[in-house]
């Protein structure tokens, strides 16, 4: 596929990438008859009067018991092989098994934060997994949610949907069944991005050529750009941030630190969306410092099991 010609912003993304644009079976459906971008059609995302009093912002004292914070916060050391299994999940809190730099876990942390859900985080050393962790997930993956009834939920999208269903406050998925379906179709449109960004990162870090991979990634971004062009809304879900935006975000946050910023050079609406996302309080609160992320990546690619705790003060 030929490189898109730079600097011709009057053309739509489709025209710029015409020679390489590969639509998926979903673009057509996703473009049809959505109420997005139309005046007064955002009701599905508006909370009702009953909801708004529950949308209390997260208070510092709600976040974590200071005594527990040392061992179970966003910034806690990972647990590794030989560690003691954690006790039961306390009442009133849900536990997330996570890893500070994992994009899939990042999705779940965004939803927990956005909904103001009281939670504790246990970080797992993914290169030196505790034996007990396989009782939480058959393959030792993160994220996994555990509640105080010992119920375990894994797969990042399933975990995020569960949180939206199970907890009150602002709904991140739309109420309208068609709009919900549309968010899921958008997620399908995005589904090649995680593996592609990972493949690009690995290729770059191993000094391999990744021109083809980056071209493929750009094509995927063009699909998303087309959606934003058509909808002409600030977010993928409409005028307010919603589930689909949070589900996409972790990979876009990582483009810079992975060395893939140039993959959005020809998708201006995607760039605007990213800038808007960075202003969201939830996204902002969980933004990972670039220097720390780079430190993690360096150690990770040296197979250093201390990678996951890079940047922790204690």
């Amino acid at each position: 596929m030929s490189e898109p010609r730079p600097g011709n912003s009057s053309m739509s993304c489709r025209q710029r990438c015409a020679s390489g644009l590969r639509t998926t079976g979903l673009l057509g459906a996703v473009f049809q008859n959505s109420s997005l971008g139309q005046e007064g059609a955002q009701q599905y995302l508006e909370p009702t009067a009953a909801d708004s009093h529950r949308e209390a912002p997260v208070r510092a004292e709600d976040w974590a018991d200071p005594c527990r914070e040392m061992m179970a916060g966003d910034s806690s050391r990972t647990l590794s092989k030989g560690s003691c299994p954690p006790g039961p999940v306390p009442d009133g809190v849900i536990r997330l098994y996570s890893m500070r730099f994992c994009p899939y876990s990042h999705r779940t942390r965004l939803v927990l934060k956005a909904k103001g859900i009281r939670h504790e985080i246990i970080n797992i050393n993914l290169k030196n997994k505790p034996e007990w962790y396989y009782t939480k997930h058959p393959f030792g993956q993160v994220p996994v949610l555990e509640n105080n009834q010992c119920q375990l939920i894994y797969e990042s999208v399933i975990a995020c949907e569960y949180l939206d269903d199970a907890y009150p406050g602002r709904k991140l998925f739309p109420y309208d069944p068609y709009e919900r379906a549309r968010q899921k179709m958008l997620l399908e449109l995005f589904c090649k991005v995680p593996q592609l960004t990972k493949d690009c990162l690995v290729a770059l870090r191993c000094g391999r050529d990744c021109t083809e991979l980056k071209a493929t990634l750009r094509r995927e971004f063009c699909n998303l750009e087309e959606i934003l062009e058509y909808q002409n809304t600030s977010f993928f879900g409409g005028s307010r941030i919603s589930m689909v935006d949070y589900l996409f975000w972790p990979w876009f946050e990582r483009l810079d630190v992975y060395g893939l910023s140039d993959c959005i050079n020809h998708t201006p609406m995607l760039q605007v969306w990213m800038a808007t996302m960075k202003q969201d309080p939830t996204v902002c609160a969980l933004l990972i410092d670039k220097g720390i992320f780079l430190g993690f990546l360096n150690l990770y690619f040296q197979n250093n099991p201390n990678a996951f705790d890079f940047g922790l003060v204690y």
Binding site: G25, G28, Q32, S34, Y162, D165, Y178, A181
Partner: protein, 241 residues
């Protein structure tokens, strides 16, 4: 006339008109397992619907307006809204229509159904590669992999101690998996469930469900279809009509 047993529409056909009020339309193909998921849910919930079969070996030009890759199933409602991807169509029908609830209300139980579906996720592509295999020697390898996947499902059933994957009555997860198990016989893959007794019992119980049995296709018809389909015959999708 548009029903489950209607001839498919191919190239040169007239595009269908708008979907009548009070009905929902599914673009389908009589032998497609993904489209069968949607038809099972439509039937199980008693949703008034019309079926338009698409000739997947000779797609109508207008169909690419419904789905740019020309895939089935696609739902179209009377507002002209289109929903693609079998799982998304099934969840949409569950949420948009009243009647029998196929998904549990409890958020955890709902999540369990989705986690179970992950366990099943390799089966469709494995069966597809079995159908399409060029060398007979690849057969045993694929069967081994299928057996592995089926053992995972067997474990899940054993742990639950219920007849169906969602409990003691049939629910969404059972319908979502069923179409591939319906095809085992016609593909001579029954041996892959030889050592999974709970799965065999589940299959027998599924066959007794009125919704499943009303949409069932027999092994011979499947075989006739597969033969023509692998030859890329434009007659394949209408086999048996």
């Amino acid at each position: 006339m548009s029903g489950d047993a209607a001839r498919s529409l191919g190239k040169g056909s007239e595009p269908p008109g708008p979907v009548p009020q009070g009905k929902i339309r599914v673009y389908s193909m009589r032998f497609c397992p993904f489209a069968q998921r949607t038809r099972l849910v439509l039937k199980a919930k008693g949703i008034g619907h019309e079926v338009i079969n698409i000739n997947l070996k000779n797609k109508p030009e207008w169909y690419f307006q419904k789905n740019p890759h020309g895939l089935v199933p696609v739902l179209e409602n009377s507002q002209g809204q289109l929903i693609c991807e079998s799982l998304i169509t099934c969840e949409y029908l569950e949420e948009a229509y009243p009647g029998k609830k196929l998904l549990p209300d409890d958020p955890y139980e709902k999540a369990c159904q989705k986690m179970l579906l992950e366990l099943f996720s390799k089966v469709p592509s494995l069966m597809s590669s079995f159908i399409r295999m060029q060398n007979k020697e690849d057969g045993p390898g694929i069967k081994d992999e299928l057996r592995k996947e089926f053992s995972k499902l067997e474990e899940a059933l054993k742990k639950k101690k219920t007849t169906f994957f969602g409990g003691n009555s049939l629910s969404m997860i059972d319908y979502l998996m069923w179409p591939w198990f319906e095809r085992l016989d016609s593909l001579e893959l029954n041996e892959c469930v030889a050592h999974t007794p709970n799965l065999k019992l589940w299959m027998a119980a599924m066959r007794e469900d009125p919704t499943v049995s009303s949409l069932i296709t027999d092994a011979k018809t499947f075989q006739g279809f597969f033969r023509l389909y692998m030859q890329n015959s434009p007659e394949a999708c209408d086999y048996g009509l």
